[in-house]
Symmetry: none
Subunit: 406 residues, 2 copies
């Protein structure tokens, strides 16, 4: 039977560069015992994928856009709009969005950019929303911890303004300036927002309470990552697929929202190596019942890479693999397993190496690869493809591609 | 340790098409004993590369531009600017440049396009420089043998004019004509230059001497390969790398100069199969001490290909391989070994087949390839990449790539 559903599994930053382990070149993935992944590789077709293009290290945001078939060079305008969407703001085309921090201001200087990693920002955010008045509509929303997002909506706004965040403690808040003609109004309103916020926050009971307890007050808002959301075609319109995202990482949730995919939250999913992968897989399989397409992102692999922790990354792969047992024998579904980028444990950051990919399901031309890792997939039948080739391939395997010509 | 330096080795025209040798399909490279190249392949990752794109035979000039990450379709405007730069003229953006020959004119016809392969052109070039007067600034410079280069510098000059070189003996010098609107002034000045040059050269003592000795006089200048130099970003600005080129071939030297790479000359390097390859390797390794990037071109392989000489090409590979012993164990360096194009000994010219490539250094995902040739590299872990992907890949392996996104 020709499969009808698509399950795209992104092992975030899952690919790696080799290190010498017991006299052999190994990556966390190649050295992990991954029985189920290997069965999927054996039954499927494998290859390597440049998520953007060879040598270019994707971010998780641009990487996921690319995997979803969007050109990140056209639709990515910085982290602000993605973070704002991830925080739950319904960001619209033309909106200018910023990443924000609650911070501690004292004697005109920022003494703690994270306001003692404050968590109880709900009342503070509400006060800003009610008491700040600007020349444009704005939405301010708290996110996790000391983080928040800000959106300006109105005519004549540009997205090219400098950050007000000084990026280090002990400095004054920076006056935002337009980097390009057409963004002057944005800079002006942003500076007004920051000034008014300080007034609103400084006198707020939450901060008076914090001061009493000797905690840093959250009496200023810092902004960075300004960007204007461009036109982004809805995923469903683009592909005719009802799609969902199962993820915990803010950036991935943000991407899913700006592409208008349904976000499905998972209890116990943390975005770290302590995440409840079983629940996530369960959730993804459940979401497939009422969606044509599900993207499941597992973030812990990336975390372990940034931590430069080879063993942690390898062990997490083994935990992922256990959860993948329930993918075996999944019917009516094309499964693609890949990564959004390489995160090198040697470097502790993303690199531009291609990532392994395996596509599994009825109709794929299976090859001789029987181990899912960077070395074996490089010999696979898919060859070396690009991120933007993935969605057309998956649409084609689910009999949804359109013939070009006659 | 993450490597910091890049050594790009171009075996010019080194790739080939197979011939039947002792009942087996072999290329000069596959049949050569290349112990050291094979060690590098075994330790590194191999693949095939379309220097421009599949089926397009690159010139050495466009091939090297592509390997250096420039789009030859944007920056290559003909051989004139490259030859002029190779001859040592500081060609600037907007300059119109020509390849020139000293030739022998008799009774209004060119009887020897190379003036008896004259070598002593210094005085003649000086006379042209001093006694020709044009409506624009010009630079005329002798090159090797009967060759020279000419540059016009000024406003209102186009680069699209026909050659004055009739391309065969027994013909008149052609009047140069504009091929496009905007190049009329160039054609007019070029015709003036050619006329004045004949007057200056005809009466020159060097030619009177030659006539006495029965040698063909060098009493005319032929021009071809007109082109206007476009804006070309300096290599160092483009990549943040201090780069050098170790080469003997004029075109490669020209490319290095228009990209503003340091040119390092090598004693005994001839551009032929008699070249001192050992000295070149020594020179490349020395240049790596005060550069981040070194391109070493070895030209003899191409010469043997153009000569349709299988054995000569194979033997030269063996000589190259001996010199490469000192590349083994090179630390802190990513080495890429490849070719700028295929030169088929069967055809005696460039073809559009992809070329083998091997990348060696800490951090590369080594594959199972242990022989550097067209057949084995086609099974390698790099898959099939393009020339333009090479520099991003090498920058990434030396931890210089910039993440796109977050």
């Amino acid at each position: 039977m020709i499969p009808d559903k698509i399950l795209l599994i992104v092992l975030d930053g899952g690919a790696d560069r080799p290190l010498m382990i017991d006299g052999r070149e190994e990556t966390p993935l190649s050295s992990a015992k991954t029985e189920n992944l290997d069965i999927l590789a054996e039954e499927g077709i494998s290859g390597m994928m440049d998520v953007i293009s060879p040598g270019i290290p994707p971010g998780s945001d641009t990487g996921h856009l690319s995997l979803l078939g969007y050109d990140p060079y056209k639709v990515y305008t910085g982290r602000g709009p993605i973070e704002a969407a991830g925080a739950g703001i319904d960001v619209k085309r033309g909106d200018v969005a910023f990443r924000c921090n609650f911070a501690t201001l004292e004697d005109g200087k920022i003494i703690d950019r994270r306001a003692g990693r404050i968590r109880e920002t709900e009342e503070l955010a509400k006060a800003i929303d009610e008491e700040v008045h600007l020349d444009v509509d704005f939405i301010f929303k708290r996110s996790t911890g000391h983080r928040a997002a800000l959106v300006f909506r109105g005519d004549g706004l540009g997205g090219d303004v400098t950050a007000s965040d000084p990026k280090e403690d002990g400095m004054q808040i920076k006056e935002s300036k337009a980097l390009k003609k057409g963004s002057e109004k944005t800079a002006e309103i942003l500076n007004d927002f920051i000034e008014q916020s300080i007034r609103v926050l400084s006198k707020h009971p939450v901060n008076e309470e914090r001061a009493k307890k000797g905690l840093p007050r959250a009496n200023a808002i810092l902004t960075r990552g300004a960007g204007i959301l461009p036109e982004i075609e809805r995923f469903e319109e683009r592909y005719g697929l009802k799609g969902a995202v199962v993820a915990a990482a803010g950036l991935v949730i943000g991407i899913s929202r700006i592409c208008r995919l349904d976000f499905v939250s998972t209890e116990g999913a943390t975005g770290g190596t302590d995440s409840n992968v079983n629940k996530k897989v369960e959730n993804a399989l459940r979401s497939l019942k009422n969606h044509d397409f599900v993207l499941m992102n597992i973030k812990g692999t990336d975390e372990a890479g940034h931590d430069k922790n080879f063993a942690k990354k390898r062990e997490f792969f083994e935990r992922i693999d256990e959860a993948f047992e329930r993918l075996l024998g999944l019917e009516d579904t094309v499964i693609a397993i890949t990564a959004d980028h390489t995160t090198s444990v040697a470097i502790g950051d993303h690199t531009g190496d291609p990532v392994p990919i395996c596509i599994h399901g009825e109709g794929v031309r299976s090859d001789s690869i029987n181990k899912f890792d960077e070395f074996n997939c490089a010999k696979g039948g898919l060859g070396r493809i690009r991120g933007r080739d993935l969605m057309p391939t998956l649409l084609d395997l689910t009999n949804r591609s359109k013939k070009f010509g006659a």
